[in-house]
């Protein structure tokens, strides 16, 4: 019954969205506060709205992932704002809880620890999967083992550039140092093989020592880069100028030092890092030799790719995006050459942005597939090493696989318990307050710091906008701010510049609007209803009729598009239904190619 009432309340809240208006953009956030965020609904991603906490310049929030996990995510505030407010056209309400500096820091640190714990859990889970794949390969009589970053090197070709590097290493660490290290690594690989053949589960340490051995072989054999190791130079990129060449040489020295230290390091995964740094060193030598900047190709096997439609490759948005990525790449190039404190971070950002720009440059009428580098990505292209001596008894392999499957089952269950989604008990609102509460040992100490205490199960806190309202009341939040959605913001500007009636007539519908271009993601609709409370049911009826007409066309198209149009149309009708009762979910959305400063 309680849940039923909650649903009714949820719907009734749609009658009067945007009660928390205040016409100002947020000022630069103060570290000594935590800000509660409510992001209103839109079609597609979050029809129930969304909540988040802003701690300093980072936003922490829980998101549902397509694999069923529900995870804590941290994003920079400007990225979050751009994505949710600009592109997804959703209004954001913000209310602050002033705190002393140490309390705010304590909360932020705690959220970082929750992220670390989450990362640790999934890393361990991935390790089990990796181990399973390892044993499955052996069972299938495949003795080829992948080694991260080895794939950048040619198998035979020698590089004169590596001779100099090896000489410098041996000058510092002593002649014969590399050979001695290689002998040790060979011997350790053999020991690991013996252990695995006897049934030990040593996948992780075996892979690590194998990578070190391969790195030492690459250095000893002076192996050069493979033909396709680097992202080629783009026409739009300028040649290296004299100052840049000097700075590249400095970074090359940094890499030499890095390789030297890694050879002496006790970190277990040094092998693949030596391979990466060596490949980067060679990419820089090639850049210096050719006078054009080259960086390693960070795309990896299994990377997600998207297929652009003919429509997308034909319109101006692709060109705009290509320019954006080229500009980003050029900026990151400049920043890399200026960076003193974190040279490797700057270089990785440059590698990633060059690859993104290059990838999009390849798009044409024939080539419409684009690989997506979602975040800064270290180049890891694996190479394959044959280890024929790995021959464990198949029975032992089966036993290990059974053990692994049991362990995986346990971890999958734990994953569901710890990181699963539940509409009422584990959603973006409940987990946010639960995470905040877990900063403190008990409710008493939490109350002393926050001024109040909220339980995730209390009242209707599981509903995002009610969670926000309850937080505002419970914590006596201050400085409420409201960031209007992009279309509404631009609409206000138009109302100031032109006749109200003219603007209303033109901008109230998707056919003549100059502020919005229809997108399939938004589902078909005719009238905007987020800025017209009184006419909302009338517009809603029109939208339902429009969606229904679209459905008829969808049925006709069924044999040709596999039901895509029909699905869109039905979803459109569904999103229009709340409008009949003065509610609103759909607001339209944007993409980067559309200029936000037109008005």
């Amino acid at each position: 019954m309680r849940r039923f009432l909650c649903l009714l309340l949820l719907v009734s809240r749609l009658f009067c969205p945007g009660l928390l208006l205040a016409d100002e953009m947020p000022e630069k956030s103060s570290v000594a506060s935590i800000d509660f965020l409510y992001i209103n609904a839109n079609a597609g991603e979050a029809a129930g709205g969304h909540t988040a906490l802003r701690l300093g310049d980072a936003v922490f929030h829980y998101q549902f992932f397509p694999d069923g996990t529900f995870l804590l995510v941290r994003e920079p505030w400007d990225s979050f704002l751009f994505l949710y407010n600009e592109l997804h056209n959703r209004s954001i309400s913000i209310a602050s809880l002033p705190l002393n500096f140490s309390a705010a820091k304590q909360i932020r640190n705690h959220f970082a620890e929750l992220l670390a714990e989450q990362e640790h859990f999934f890393r361990d889970l991935e390790q089990l999967y990796r181990e399973k794949r390892f044993f499955q390969r052996l069972l299938a009589d495949s003795f080829e083992q992948p080694v991260e970053a080895l794939g950048f090197f040619s198998k035979q070709g020698q590089s004169p550039h590596l001779v100099g590097l090896v000489k410098r290493i041996e000058t510092t660490l002593g002649a014969g140092f590399l050979q001695q290290l290689l002998n040790e690594a060979e011997s350790k690989v053999e020991q690991e093989i013996v252990a695995i053949n006897r049934g030990k589960r040593r996948e992780s340490s075996f892979q690590e020592i194998l990578a070190l051995r391969e790195a030492l072989r690459v250095l000893s054999e002076n192996r050069g880069l493979g033909r396709l190791a680097c992202v080629p130079s783009m026409q739009e990129e300028r040649s290296l100028i004299a100052d840049e060449k000097v700075l590249l040489k400095i970074f090359s020295d940094y890499l030499t030092e890095s390789i030297g230290k890694l050879l002496q390091s006790k970190r277990p995964d040094s092998g693949s890092v030596i391979l990466l740094q060596t490949a980067r060193y060679l990419a820089i030598q090639h850049s210096l030799a050719s006078g054009r900047l080259l960086t390693l190709d960070p795309f990896f096997e299994g990377i997600r790719d998207v297929q652009l439609s003919r429509e997308e490759t034909g319109d101006g948005r692709l060109g705009a995006l290509q320019e954006t990525l080229l500009r980003q790449s050029a900026t990151r190039r400049d920043l890399f050459f200026e960076e003193k404190l974190h040279p490797e971070i700057a270089y990785s950002l440059l590698e990633t942005s060059r690859a993104r720009a290059w990838e999009l440059q390849q798009v044409n009428d024939v080539q419409r597939s684009v690989r997506i580098l979602a975040k800064v990505t270290l180049p890891t292209r694996p190479g394959v090493v044959g280890v024929a001596a790995l021959k464990p008894d198949p029975e032992v392999l089966h036993t290990n696989l059974e053990l692994l499957e049991k362990a995986l089952e346990v971890e999958r269950k734990r994953s569901k318990e710890l990181y699963g989604y539940n509409l009422f008990t584990r959603n973006c609102a409940t987990e946010l307050i639960r995470s905040l509460n877990s900063t403190f040992p008990d409710s008493g100490s939490g109350k002393a710091v926050l001024g109040a205490w909220m339980e995730p199960e209390s009242g209707l806190a599981f509903i995002p906008f009610l969670f926000y309202e309850q937080s505002v009341n419970a914590f006596s939040l201050q400085d409420e701010q409201f960031i209007q959605a992009r279309r509404l913001r631009n609409l206000e500007i138009l109302y100031k510049q032109e006749s109200d009636l003219l603007v209303w007539l033109r901008e109230s519908n998707t056919l003549s609007s100059t502020l919005y271009q229809p997108r399939s993601k938004d589902t078909p609709f005719l009238f905007f209803t987020d800025d017209s409370l009184l006419l909302r049911p009338v517009f809603g009826i029109m939208n339902v009729l429009y969606g229904t007409a679209y459905s008829v066309a969808g049925i006709v198209n069924l044999p040709f598009d596999g039901g895509e149009h029909l699905n869109q149309a039905l979803r459109g009708v569904f999103y229009s239904l709340p409008e009949l009762t003065f509610g609103n979910i759909r607001k339209g959305s944007y993409s980067t190619g559309e200029n936000s400063t037109d008005h």
């Binding site: 920079p76 890095s258 692709l318 979910i585």
Partner: protein
């Protein structure tokens, strides 16, 4: 046009629609699929921070700061969960990789972060060397950075 009964029906329908979709779906493109429907949108999402007014200049510094924060968090876990030295280093490697750092031993903020984490975990300055990983670096300059981070 609608009777009260229909209003309730529609309201409930809308309610179901809303709660079905619940909270925000991730725009992350790291996993095999995502909620971003348009292909160009997928690419747009990844260029968000650069084209959305995010200051590129600040990006490197921000990454360094957040990395330090993450290393501190991992160090707290290392102390509280009594992880092995190898496991701790693998965890630091994973965090570093997320931020575009491969050789974290060359990055000073790694050791500042470790120092901060040790302090937060309640390790006294004198007993830092009792932890195996820190014992192994006690003679290096990195250990001074750990102590600096500890005192920050």
């Amino acid at each position: 046009m609608f009777s009260g009964k229909y209003f309730i029906y529609i309201s409930l329908l809308c309610g179901v629609l809303m709660v079905q979709t619940g909270c925000s779906v991730s725009y992350s493109l790291e996993k095999s699929s995502d909620s971003v429907s348009g292909s160009l949108d997928s690419i747009t999402s990844i260029s968000t921070s650069s084209s959305g007014g995010g200051e590129e200049e600040a990006k490197i510094k921000e990454t360094g700061t957040v990395y330090e924060e993450d290393v501190a968090a991992v160090t707290v876990l290392y102390v509280s969960r009594e992880k092995t030295t190898d496991d701790y280093q693998r965890q630091v490697s994973a965090i570093a990789k997320n931020h575009g750092i491969s050789d974290w031993e060359q990055e000073e903020s790694t050791f500042f972060g470790m120092g901060k984490g040790l302090r937060r975990a309640g390790v006294s300055e004198g007993s830092i060397v009792n932890l195996p990983f820190f014992r192994s670096i006690v003679k290096s300059s990195n250990y001074s950075s750990v102590i600096m981070g500890y005192k920050m």
